[in-house]
């Protein structure tokens, strides 16, 4: 068992809802304790009061339930899950920031945790001072920091601003410095949470490279990220968490695929069962909008899959000329594209395009091709017009979905892929000449 880095059994964490957002004031405790005897008296007379006591238990929830882990020395393991699946709670327990409610974990070796970059940075202190402060906070010895100081400064590319207070730094410089300190932390076991989502593309690439070095040096890394592409490249093995429980563990590729398949709820679909409450007016009403991938309603897909946007609507006026359309928006709300079922804007011929619609319920489906969108969050606005340009339904961002990276386009480059779209395009390179001919460098052919 000497090659074991982390082992955990039955790890669980119970949170009392509200306890995290709202702290108690003394008054609450005082009134609670003042009312306590009263409550016990009344409950002696009333049976159903026990239900009120039960509600205390209802307010509690298990952020993490019965987790078992075994991670070997030198292994890199990714942890995947939606928001609230318990990833951060698990890291916090392993980092000893919070205690588990049940179970135990044993950790062999010095643990460093990077749950955030720049923890403890003080804006009034200079870059130099913050390197020492932050290093000490992350658990580095003073001598270690001194030894690696030049390397940290070079990595962060802030040589000129070393003696400037950090509050005068640009956010890019700030993040670079923060990551540089963190990247030089050299514990045997490193816990990393989402910190790669910082900086510009070039710096992200550098960070990812650094992380790969760390993993390559035989250190144990546990890595939590929403960036499935970099996770897949960094960690051969992954663990999928859902609702606080370990759903599955195994090779990263398979786990990511399962995770994507898991996202079948959320805002991938919206249905209005009451006609009067649906967006629209007495001429047209929306009934439903949904994202369908491989025949399944979902809010998660990957960059390679075709995405079908289904719109169901009631035409309430005989003979109306209807045009369903969509706007695709990125996470910042920029319109990526607009598309409408107009004969000249359709790849295919649609039998209803430009027709007079009899009364009834219709479904229009628009297909967004795979290998087209970048990874990230997208939302869809549904617009239905009469006579091409008269909007009758204008439902803003009614559905949304996540496009996940798969790692298939990540064999070489691991940083942030710029752009709203990420189509696979054709590249062709030719060798034109062996040596530049004298005086004819300008010539093209």
């Amino acid at each position: 068992m000497s090659d074991l880095a982390i082992r955990a059994e039955h790890l669980g964490k119970l949170y009392h809802l509200g306890a995290r957002e709202r702290y108690r004031t003394l008054r609450d405790t005082l009134t609670d304790s003042a009312l306590a005897p009263l409550r016990s008296i009344t409950s002696a007379f009333q049976r159903r009061d026990s239900a009120a006591h039960g509600s205390v238990a209802d307010n509690a929830f298990w952020a993490l339930k019965d987790i078992a882990l075994e991670i070997k020395l030198g292994e890199s393991v990714g942890i995947i899950g939606r928001n609230g699946a318990g990833k951060s709670t698990l890291l916090k327990i392993l980092a000893r920031i919070t205690e588990p409610t049940t179970g135990y974990a044993e950790i062999h070796g010095r643990v460093g945790s990077l749950l955030e970059v720049g923890t403890g940075f003080h804006p009034e202190l200079t870059g130099r001072e913050n390197i020492f402060l932050n290093g000490a906070i992350l658990g580095m010895k003073r001598a270690e920091i001194v030894r690696q100081f030049d390397e940290i400064v070079a990595f962060a590319e802030i040589e000129k601003f070393l003696d400037t207070p950090v509050k005068r730094y640009s956010s890019g410089m700030y993040v670079r410095l923060a990551f540089a300190v963190a990247a030089h932390l050299q514990p045997e076991i490193l816990l990393v949470d989402e910190v790669l989502a910082v900086g510009d593309a070039a710096f992200q690439k550098k960070c990812l490279g650094k992380m790969q070095d760390v993993a390559g040096e035989g250190r144990t890394v546990i890595f939590v990220s929403h960036n499935l592409g970099s996770l897949a490249n960094l960690c051969p093995r992954a663990i999928l968490l859902a609702q606080g429980e370990k759903r599955r563990e195994g090779a990263s590729g398979a786990i990511i695929a399962e995770y994507v398949a898991l996202g079948k709820q959320d805002r991938g679909q919206v249905v209005w069962r009451e006609l009067q409450l649906a967006p629209g007016n007495e001429r047209v009403r929306l009934r439903a909008a949904r994202i369908v991938v491989n025949g399944q309603v979902t809010a998660d897909t990957d960059i390679h899959q075709d995405i079908q946007v289904e719109i169901e609507f009631w035409n309430l006026q005989d003979g109306a000329h209807l045009t369903p359309s969509i706007h695709l928006l990125d996470k910042l709300g920029n319109v990526v594209l607009a598309s409408a079922n107009l004969a000249s804007a359709n790849l295919f011929q649609d039998e209803w395009a430009g027709c007079a619609y009899p009364r009834g319920l219709y479904r229009a489906v628009c297909t967004l091709p795979g290998d087209f969108l970048n990874d990230g969050y997208y939302s869809i606005t549904v617009v239905i017009t009469t006579d091409v340009s008269q909007p009758q339904v204008y439902a803003r961002e009614v559905i949304a979905f996540m496009v996940h990276d798969t790692g298939a386009m990540r064999k070489e480059f691991g940083g942030e892929w710029l752009g709203v779209v990420r189509p696979r395009l054709a590249w062709r390179t030719q060798r034109l000449m062996a040596e530049p001919r004298e005086g004819r460098l300008e010539e093209r052919e």
């Binding site: 949170y15 702290y23 003394l26 945790s113 955030e116």
Partner: protein, 272 residues
């Protein structure tokens, strides 16, 4: 290779001194940060460390010494007040800084592991620099008033430690309570103000009848302040038992605060 065990703990946790020593560098850096940052972007800078007790002394001298004619055990009133104000300011600053320290550093609490005691302790210790600077002024005043040191002067380090221990003890209670109840933030200014007048700073504890003097020691700062006067000015009018009582009260407060802090600390990251 060290093995770390993580499991739920219950009840009273023991005080892990070894771990605290292991993290002494972090303690050092946090103290250093607090000192560096304290007077950043102020025009007078470290001058505030002198100005605050000096101005308070002036106000006290005018209103209590001159106008009200409060007796000062035969010592010139300004130095009588200043000697008491030094440990008081050390105490009151340290209490308010450490009382708010955990909440101020909640980013650290929720993101990194380290012995939580380091935070209020650093906040208390950072105040020593201010104290040291003001102390130089006090020495100057002693020379000016021609007050020669007595053998009791050797006891001064003990009373300085006692002031720090008192501040740390109260800071432990307040900082841990503050994580749970933010009321503490509003209690602290009121508490220190009230405490200032309940402590023999503007007046002498000899105002209290002899039979009751000892019980005055239940205000731990009474013992510290009278100890300072005794060590520096040589005034000892039956305050010995008062100092003993204060020392005991501080020891109890400290033990209780440590216990309470250690008990609460496991939920700090979840609650703060």
């Amino acid at each position: 290779m060290p093995v770390i065990w993580i499991r739920p703990t219950r009840g009273w946790a023991s005080f892990n001194l070894r771990e605290l020593i292991e993290y002494r560098e972090l303690l050092y850096f946090l103290i250093w940060r607090d000192i560096k940052v304290r007077y950043k972007q102020t025009a007078l800078g470290i001058g505030w460390a002198v100005l605050q007790p000096m101005l308070t002394m002036l106000v006290f001298s005018v209103f209590f010494g001159r106008l009200a004619g409060v007796p000062s055990d035969g010592i010139p009133y300004p130095i009588f007040a200043f000697t008491a104000l030094l440990p008081w300011q050390l105490f009151s600053h340290a209490v308010s800084e450490s009382g708010n320290s955990l909440v101020m550093n909640q980013q650290l609490l929720t993101k990194v592991y380290f012995p939580r005691l380091v935070i209020p302790l650093a906040a208390v210790l950072a105040g020593i620099v201010d104290f040291a600077i003001a102390f130089v002024v006090l020495l100057g005043m002693l020379v000016y008033y021609g007050i020669a040191p007595t053998p009791a002067f050797l006891m001064l380090p003990f009373f300085i430690l006692l002031a720090i221990a008192a501040a740390f003890a109260v800071g432990l209670w307040l900082s841990a309570l503050n994580v749970q109840y933010r009321d503490v933030r509003y209690v602290i200014p009121f508490l220190t103000q009230f405490w200032l007048f309940a402590t023999p700073i503007a007046y002498s504890s000899s105002l209290v009848p002899d039979a009751w003097r000892m019980w005055y020691g239940f205000n731990p700062m009474a013992g510290v302040v009278e100890g300072f006067r005794w060590a520096l000015l040589g005034t000892a009018n039956g305050t010995g038992s008062l100092m003993v009582v204060s020392t005991l009260v501080i020891a109890l407060l400290f033990a209780g605060g440590l216990g309470y802090f250690r008990r609460m600390e496991r939920t700090f990251a979840d609650v703060v």
